[in-house]
């Protein structure tokens, strides 16, 4: 699937409006992850693939230790 073009800059995102095929940037505890959504598993979780390493993991893995003060989630 072709990655959709982003219409607006700095579009914030929320976990309940995650879209398959779109790229997101998540910042948590000083670590930045850029990933593409592959599949939605449940209402709050999905299977994603890292844009940098092509590693596949779950979105819940990124927040399993909670959300830090720097937490930010936006469309890439």
């Amino acid at each position: 699937m072709k990655h959709p073009t982003k219409p607006y800059n700095d579009l914030q995102a929320s976990f309940n409006t995650i879209r398959v095929g779109y790229r997101y940037r998540l910042v948590n505890y000083g670590e930045t992850s850029v990933f593409e959504v592959l599949e939605i598993i449940s209402n709050d979780d999905c299977r994603v693939r890292s844009v940098d390493t092509l590693e596949e993991y779950r979105l819940s893995d990124l927040i399993k230790y909670g959300k830090g003060d720097d937490f930010a989630f936006s469309e890439e």
Partner: protein, 191 residues
């Protein structure tokens, strides 16, 4: 001679019409975002006849106005899917859910377009706050998820929208909801 003038005027009018048509087409398609939708064909293998619109979780902070708004969206989804040949059921083949997220965003643009940093009258250019305009607006996403009875996502449609800061979200969402669900079509059963 007169005939030539009349002909050239008619040509100009035609050109103007084409220009206006092209401009309106560009404004119509360039300014608005399209509905983005995906089909998960591996999960859409059944013959779907019934559906149920699942309401978002009710929160204690939800006002009666918001509840009415939710009911309105559910009615739009129900009507649109019934028009596509599906029927409502408490034990459905398809579960339809929706979500909206809206954020306030600000955009700062520079008013000074001179690439040299100064102009003829103002030789020494000192940047100040007056040279920038900050506009606030709302951006958001309206999303519809359609899952099968096993909970697998079979269709997802969404639309990104942008509103003026004073524009009401509740006034625009029903129109966007109609547009997104309009992009859904029943999967053709494989032979």
């Amino acid at each position: 001679m007169i005939l030539r003038l009349v002909k050239s005027k008619a040509m100009l009018r035609k050109k103007r019409r084409y220009f206006l048509l092209l401009a309106s087409l560009w404004l119509g398609t360039g300014c608005a975002t399209k509905v983005a939708s995906i089909y998960n064909y591996s999960a859409a293998d059944g013959d779907f006849k019934t559906f149920l619109v699942v309401a978002p979780e009710e929160k204690d902070s939800q006002t009666p106005e918001n509840k009415l708004f939710d009911q309105r969206l559910q009615a739009i989804l129900t009507t649109s899917l019934e028009n596509k040949g599906l029927q409502t059921s408490s034990l459905p083949d398809l579960y339809v859910s929706y979500a909206v997220s809206v954020y306030n965003t600000s955009e700062t643009t520079s008013n000074f377009n001179n690439p040299y940093g100064y102009n003829y009258y103002n030789r020494y250019y000192y940047p100040s706050n007056f040279d920038y305009t900050t506009r606030t607006y709302k951006t958001g996403v309206f999303l519809i998820n359609i899952k099968n009875a096993r909970g697998k996502l079979i269709w997802q449609g969404s639309k990104t929208f942008r509103l003026k800061s004073k524009e009401s979200v509740q006034a625009r969402i029903p129109e966007i909801c109609r547009e997104v669900i309009g992009a859904f079509s029943l999967p053709v059963p494989s032979t």
